[in-house]
């Protein structure tokens, strides 16, 4: 592990990140902006990996860089990638610029008051965090402290996080989905026919058909092995989702919808959250507080700490299901502008 701070390497990365951010926002061509934004997220993963936050880097790579770029690109696919910049409005931009710089100065005024960067005795690293590191084996028998804190100590946060993903999915569904009635009446497709059609380039199709099984295998490993190595429900779920999105992009949407109908997708999105909430509820029926897996020891194998570890695994599976299918559903909606016929 590199000792911090080799400041030359970090400074370079941080400056690059700021550069990418500025470029992403000033490029005229929106597609270009999306790509630079993807690069910006990748740089972010590097910085976080450099700082020891491996799980976060993994999630950012899968969710931040991977899937959001696909979302932005599929939105642009359905609309127009060129940005007609209108003259004028400079005064307003300057005014906002001034307001923002004042806010920035105000934030920086708190700088000297912060604990030294990287100090291991700062309140954040000394108050609550040590308990997790010291007691994770005794409590949950899960070496990867992040997974144990994620799914058990602060399990309620993760349940709500999964609910956020679930809401995003049904929100986008209810915004974009064009109900069948309008579809049959042959309403003229408002969006212009996209200029370039991905077509069926043989190389892309064969390569993706070859890659998808390995991706899914790796994703299942990530979910199952979340106890011992970086990874977990989110990352695994996103990779599974990404594998199916890869199929949808390389072939066409119909190909994916033949295997996974719209109804099963949306039901499974709800099923994941239901599984998570039901596990919590089971703990209540067993006499403990909500999401207290140790009370499931009569149901799950092993005594109390193993029960917690199995409880965490169950919950991770629930998260994985929801995240996977909501990523797919969101992609389909965004790509096909709610018509579920042909998309990116």
């Amino acid at each position: 592990m590199s000792t911090l701070p080799i400041w030359q390497f970090d400074v370079l990365l941080l400056v690059l990140v700021v550069l990418f951010a500025v470029v992403a926002l000033s490029i005229r061509n929106l597609m270009g902006a999306a790509i630079v934004f993807g690069a910006y997220s990748f740089m972010m993963c590097l910085i976080w990996a450099g700082m020891g936050a491996v799980d976060v880097a993994f999630t950012e790579a899968a969710v931040g860089a991977g899937v959001s770029t696909v979302f932005v690109v599929s939105t642009l696919y359905n609309t127009s990638a060129t940005m007609r910049s209108r003259p004028g409005g400079l005064a307003f931009k300057l005014f906002i610029g001034v307001v923002v710089t004042i806010a920035g100065a105000f934030l920086l005024s708190a700088l000297p008051d912060f604990p030294k960067w990287g100090a291991s005795d700062s309140p954040v690293n000394a108050k609550v965090a040590p308990y997790y590191i010291l007691n994770t084996i005794a409590d949950t028998h899960v070496p990867n402290v992040v997974t144990s804190v994620l799914a058990d100590y602060r399990g309620f946060d993760t349940l709500l996080e999964t609910t956020v993903v679930f809401i995003a999915c049904i929100a986008i569904y209810s915004i974009l989905r064009v109900d069948k009635a309008k579809l049959e009446t042959g309403e003229p497709a408002a969006a212009p026919v996209p200029r370039y059609d991905p077509g069926d380039s043989l190389i892309v199709r064969q390569a993706s058909r070859f890659m998808v099984p390995f991706m899914q295998l790796f994703a299942l490993y990530v979910i199952a092995h979340g106890h011992y190595s970086p990874g977990g429900g989110f990352q695994g779920g996103v990779i599974l989702g990404a594998s199916l999105i890869l199929l949808a992009i390389s072939f066409d949407l119909k190909f994916l919808l033949r295997q996974w109908s719209e109804k099963t997708l949306m039901l499974l999105v709800a099923a994941g959250v239901f599984l998570y909430a039901a596990v919590g509820l089971a703990c209540v029926f067993m006499g403990g507080n909500y999401l207290d897996y140790s009370f499931l020891d009569s149901v799950l194998p092993g005594e109390r700490d193993m029960a917690r570890s199995h409880g965490i695994l169950l919950v991770e599976i629930g998260v994985g299901i929801t995240v996977m299918f909501s990523m797919i559903a969101i992609h389909i909606n965004l790509a096909s502008n709610g018509r579920f016929d042909r998309g990116l």
Binding site: V54, E60, S68, F71, W117, S122, L134, V145, V149, V165
Partner: protein
């Protein structure tokens, strides 16, 4: 010099946030606003992570040897897990908001065939 390096992370965090905030408020293009929003959120995530970073700290996964006798765990060897899981939530929330924003932008484009806020306002007023 030492002081500047030590707090370099925070300066970058503030710069990133201000770029994001500026984009959200000043940019007229809806997609640029969404990208600005994502940048603003990643800025905050960088802030949280840089609080929890520890010098010479390993990834917070307890090695095989320590799993047997849990008394040998030295807290300062391992990174801070708490800030990391907070940021897992923040990233996922960021993506969710981005998705909803893009869906709305798409629907607005379908109505006004333009992403530019001023054109949309004129169109609405007609």
């Amino acid at each position: 010099m030492e002081k500047l390096i030590a707090n370099f992370n925070y300066v970058i965090v503030v710069i990133l946030m201000m770029i994001g905030l500026w984009a959200m408020l000043a940019q007229k293009n809806l997609i640029k606003k969404c990208i600005g929003m994502a940048i603003f959120q990643t800025g905050i995530i960088l802030f949280f992570i840089s609080i929890g970073a520890k010098n010479e700290a390993k990834v917070p996964i307890l090695s095989k040897s320590v799993v047997e006798n849990s008394s040998a765990i030295i807290v300062n060897d391992y990174g801070n897990p708490l800030t990391q899981i907070l940021m897992l939530t923040a990233i996922v929330v960021g993506v969710a908001t981005l998705g909803v924003g893009l869906a709305l932008a798409q629907k607005i484009y379908q109505q006004h065939s333009s992403f530019d806020e001023d054109e949309i306002l004129e169109n609405q007023r007609k």
